[in-house]
Subunit: 324 residues, 2 copies
């Protein structure tokens, strides 16, 4: 395929595996890149910048195709050394950085000096425009359906992708709720030139997470996600389970809720227990509404080929409706 996104990334297909805490490691990123997509290692999944450099080396041993590094900048009282992680990625030869969270303004000059490009992930048109002004090379926009932090605006991808596509000049990647060739085709109709998938790539053979979680994704319906942390204005979409149900119940209790009320529920349980140890009720599991459309656990190569074939076929079938 050819779009401005395949051009930017140097891939066969404009299909990106989004940065995901715990999941974005060499096993998955290399499998996606080997299959013609674009794999992404998540910087903060590694304990320190040196470990990220090691992981990049390990990934390079598993694929000769391009892959990137995600750097998610979240509000924190004890922030990790973001710039050192960035240095580790750039010095390891990474040429695509996916930023998310806060505006990447401060990292752009450094990335450019290394000949790297920045794909910025955001959740609103106004943030996309501000990132574009700051000089990013592509925008990845997350609709309301998305896993992780879909923002507070609650605009569905159907509207948000179209609104973003007509607002920005740089190429657009659609993200959130996408897991099939039909959805890829839909995103392209709305003006996106590539897609980002997170949850769907978690339900693959190569995703380095516990099989219990993959089965939970297969079993879930589109109504089986919860929006947590709304009261903190730091909304997260996660799989419905015992912990996320309890977080929501706490947030909704009459009289209001402070973070201190939620903290004991999520402390130490923000994903690792569930994703890695397989305790499906033991932690928060980011998941998009696309869980309702996931039925199997293919290899990344099977998944990507299926998506590309289905995408093209959907477009052909669509055009057939015009032949009367």
């Amino acid at each position: 395929m050819h779009t401005r996104i395949t051009e930017l990334l140097g891939t066969r297909y404009p299909i990106i595996q989004g940065g995901m805490q715990w999941v974005g490691r060499a096993e998955l990123a290399s499998a996606v890149s080997n299959a013609g997509g674009f794999g992404i290692l998540t910087a903060l999944t590694q304990p320190d910048p040196q470990a990220l450099a090691d992981e990049i080396r390990r990934c390079r041993g598993m694929t000769d195709k391009p892959f990137g590094v995600n750097l998610t900048i979240l509000p924190s009282t004890a922030p990790p050394p973001y710039e050192e992680y960035l240095d580790a990625a750039l010095e390891s030869g990474i040429r695509i950085i996916e930023t998310a969270g806060r505006s990447p303004k401060e990292f752009i000059a450094k990335a450019k000096a290394h000949g790297a490009k920045i794909v910025h992930k955001c959740t609103a048109v106004r943030h996309a425009l501000s990132a574009e002004r700051a000089g990013v090379d592509a925008i990845s926009i997350d609709g309301f359906e998305a896993a992780g932090h879909p923002g507070e605006d609650d605009v569905g991808g159907l509207v948000l992708f179209a609104a973003a596509a007509r607002a920005v000049k740089v190429p657009l990647i659609a993200s959130g709720g996408i897991g099939s060739g039909r959805a890829m085709a839909a995103a392209m109709m709305l003006g996106a030139e590539g897609i980002n998938m997170g949850t769907r790539f978690c339900a693959t053979q190569e995703a380095p997470i516990h099989d219990n979680i993959k089965q939970a994704l297969v079993g879930a319906k589109e109504t089986d996600t919860n929006l947590i942390f709304r009261t903190l204005r730091n909304t997260g979409r996660v799989l419905k389970n015992a912990i996320s149900d309890e977080v929501i119940a706490t947030e909704r209790r009459p009289g209001g809720c402070e973070f201190e009320d939620i903290r004991p529920l999520v402390a130490g349980a923000r994903g690792r227990a569930a994703l890695i140890d397989g305790d499906t009720d033991g932690g928060l599991v980011w998941a998009s509404q696309v869980v309702g459309l996931i039925d199997d656990i293919p290899t990344c190569a099977e998944l990507i080929e299926r998506i590309v074939t289905e995408c093209r076929e959907a477009m052909r079938q669509g055009l057939a409706a015009f032949e009367v």
Copy 2:
């Protein structure tokens, strides 16, 4: 164009003007049908069944193309005479009834006896399946982006359309957040065979509503809608204005909120003051997130031709990405 929806409706294009209180009158329905789409008169906009019969006759004087009647069945302590409205429509020769709200089970046999078909509008896959089992001829499914009552599940169209399309065997109409040919193409990629538009048809020359409201739709961004009545589990998506902001503030106040707290805000102001009298802050105005993508007030014919052309062009451009 040709899909199972154009076949069912007998139209040139699978583009439906959804039933809308105050808006679904002969001026708009006839304009949509004359332009190759499918116009719908809203039964309960008329004060009684006889007035509906008169409105159908008036509409027939304005178009020789097919149009339908919407019958929305909402919970009410003093329900209108639904069955008499249905009788008026069927006896006036209407052959497509759009039902919404409660399951249309009780009306199906009567409609079929008159040779009429039922398109049922709902907001969840489980409701679509139950309506299909009850014998409806098509499903119109409303995603989270939709105006009016998008339900309580909050599943975006991107996921919901695909989930519904693979669940039901009858043809699917996608609804909510659709206002352009790109969105029509996206809906078709996801498996829909037609689209339903409400908000977009309000911003047309022929919509029988005040110009102030049309201008407000043009001016609004995709973030300019409010979800009201969440506390009543009867969620409605409306344009952000003084009244809907106040409803939300009341619903969110600490200690909770009863309907009696909201009633004075909305009594007598549920649309007519705004839509007909043009007092943009004087009532609730149903509006979908598609307001962010509405820039002009064309005629229905201009709008429909533009949508069909853009839809086909988006599909062609999409396929071009595969030619490497």
